[in-house]
Subunit: 156 residues, 2 copies
DNA sequence: AGGCAGATGATACCAGGTCTCATCTGCGAG
DNA sequence: CTCGCAGATGAGACCTGGTATCATCTGCCT
């Protein structure tokens, strides 16, 4: 089962209808390298001569976020992006500041640390966000910066 | 030296002019409990019958952010806020989801953890963001939720 | 096959933030 | 002390990302 199917399945399992736009969103999200914005998706939809309303894109992203199929990142440059990720386990993201590729990072020791911080300050901690930004191995190697443009979409 | 003076001083030390609006911004920021938005500051300025342009508020916040006198938070509800903090040492924030009060949290073991994550994934990590959200001791005690409104501004 | 809950796209709207520009002023040189 | 100008300001246009509304359409269960 490929990534696209998995996403479509996520919609179904959560009781949402399977519609053409949702299938398209699934494909576009699955075919993304690195992170993407709502606008990116809509552009890519247009490139395929498919028309999707802006609202629909946002609605799909909202759903996928709630299903934890994608996660919303707050980039250091104060913009946002979404990134495909593993719905099954709490984790964080290590994101390449150049090409946007991201790897999931297990929470590991962090949970303990977070817990302790809460205890020390008398807060009952509800959620936490950890985001790591840096240069990925590929970009470090190639160095040209061209990777950004090159990897907007490609085979999974 | 009180908080307001410290902020004005930060402007001066960085070579920026000391103007009425900046002094006002310093007072408003210093007089904030918990986090605040640009709009909050402008409202509070208006309440004092002082007129400050919206752009000026943003410009001041931008400066203060670059001077690390305030830090920009990305709240879980996908809105933003600024919070006064210690410019002298890298740290993170533990923020009350009810009243917005925040405490600085030393980086501690996190630096090591971040480092290791970078190494394991072959990324050269440049920056990281950790934000913790929960209920502060005061709100846990009072429980009413009234704290939100009650603490918008007050003596430092 | 039929009906309707749910989904869609267009469009208006909103918040938060940035840009431009004409005007004003803090402050260091003299 | 006063003068001049770099730097700061406010007004308002503009932009981006996201939400709300609403009339229309369609997936899907019966
Ligand atoms: Zn990269
Ligand atoms: Zn975690
Ligand atoms: Zn609180
Ligand atoms: Zn840190």
């Amino acid at each position: 089962m490929d990534q696209t199917t998995r996403i479509v399945r996520a919609f179904e399992d959560a009781g949402y209808q399977t519609t053409p736009s949702r299938r398209l969103m699934a494909e576009l999200v699955a075919g993304s390298r690195g992170h993407f914005s709502a606008a990116d998706l809509q552009d890519r939809a247009r490139q395929r001569r498919a028309k999707v309303g802006r609202a629909t894109v946002f609605r799909a992203l909202e759903l996928l976020t709630s299903l934890r199929v994608v996660e919303r990142l707050d980039l250091p440059n104060r913009s946002h992006a979404y990134v495909l990720c593993d719905p099954d386990e709490h984790h964080h993201h290590l994101v390449c500041s150049r090409c946007g590729r991201s790897v999931d990072v297990a929470d590991g020791e962090l949970a303990r640390l977070v817990d302790e911080i809460g205890r020390r300050n008398g807060y009952r901690i509800e959620t936490h966000r950890l985001e790591l930004f840096g240069i990925c191995p590929l970009c470090a190697g190639a160095g040209t910066g061209a990777a950004v443009a090159a990897d907007r979409e490609g085979p999974a």
